[in-house]
Subunit: 143 residues, 2 copies
DNA sequence: CTAAGTGCAAAATGTTTGCATACTT
DNA sequence: AAGTATGCAAACATTTTGCACTTAG
C-alpha cells in the first residue's frame, strides 16, 4: 500500500511540471503518454501508471472512475491543504462530466452517521458523488 | 440501446429463477457463470453478460460499478416498483476492499440535501463511499 | 553502493464481438 | 420460416507485472 515516491526522478518532475499547468483539467493515463510522446520526450506507460498511482496516494491528484469500460480520469488539484479540509466534497455529473467542488458542513454529518450507525470511517476526499448537475437535469427534463 | 429480450429462452429463465432466490445479494457476471457451471448446467459467459445487460435495461437488476478494476456488481431487486427504492448505498473499504451494502434512510437525506442546497441530483446507485471498514479501522488503530 | 524507478513486452482482467449453430415464436 | 439467442473462441481495452537496466541519493 505504500505507493509514495522516494526519488525525484526526471519522469516524475516532468509529470508534475505538466500537471501544474493544467489544474482542474481531466486527463487519462493515455492522454499523458500521448502528450509526452508528441512532445518528443516519451515516458513509458508503466511509469505513467505508477506515478499516477503515487500521486493519487500522495493526494496530489484525484482519481475518478466514470464507468468500468472507460479509462480512469485524473485531475491535478495541488499539493496544498486543500484536501485536509474536511468540509469539501466532490460531485461529478454523469452526463457532462463536470466536477463540482462543494464546501458544506453536511459532509460531516454523513461522516458521523456512517461511523455511528455503520462503523464505517468515511474518507471524504476519496469519495465522489455521482449524479446529474443542474444544467443536465434541466436538459433531460425538457428533451 | 434496445437491449430488451424478446424470447424466453431456457437460459434467461434459469437466470431469473436463480435471481429471485437471492434478492438484495451482490454478484458479478463471473459468480453467475460459476454458479451454473458448478450446478452442472453451464451458461456461456457471453450469454450471461448479454442477459445481465438486458435485465439491467429492463430494470430487473441494478448494476453497480465499484471501480474500474473490479468487476461490475449486480443485484436483483424485482420487476416491480421495488427498484424505485433508493435507500441503498455502498461503502467500499480502501484497505481490504470489502464492499458493504447498506439499507438506510440517511441516503435519502443526503440526496435531498444535495438537491435542495446544491441543485445536484444524486445517483445513489452509482455512488460509492470510500473509507475504512470496522475491521480495518480496528487493525490500523492497534498494530 | 544500494534502494528505487524505468521501460519494454507479456500477462492479467473484465467485457464485447463475430459467427455458425440452435432455439422461440 | 424468420427472427433472435447461444456459446465458443478470438478480440478488446485498460491496467498490472516480471525483469534487466538505469538512476537518485
Amino acid at each position: 500500500m505504500d505507493q509514495r515516491s522516494k526519488y525525484r526522478t526526471k519522469q516524475r518532475k516532468l509529470l508534475l511540471e505538466y500537471f501544474e499547468t493544467i489544474p482542474g483539467v481531466h486527463f487519462t493515463a493515455a492522454d499523458i503518454c500521448e502528450y509526452f510522446r508528441e512532445k518528443g520526450a516519451p515516458i513509458g506507460q508503466s511509469t505513467v501508471y505508477r506515478q499516477l498511482e503515487s500521486l493519487v496516494d500522495e493526494g496530489i491528484l484525484n482519481k475518478y472512475i466514470i464507468d468500468g469500460n472507460t479509462p480512469a480520469c485524473f485531475e491535478y488539484t495541488g499539493r496544498d491543504e486543500h484536501r485536509a479540509e474536511e468540509k469539501c466534497f466532490h460531485c461529478k455529473c454523469e452526463k457532462c462530466g463536470e466536477l463540482i467542488h462543494l464546501h458544506c458542513d453536511e459532509i460531516a454529518r454523513i461522516k458521523d452517521h456512517l461511523y455511528d450507525e455503520h462503523r464505517f470511517r468515511l474518507d471524504p476526499m476519496r469519495t465522489v458523488f455521482y449524479g446529474l448537475c443542474e444544467k443536465c437535469t434541466l436538459e433531460s427534463e425538457q428533451g
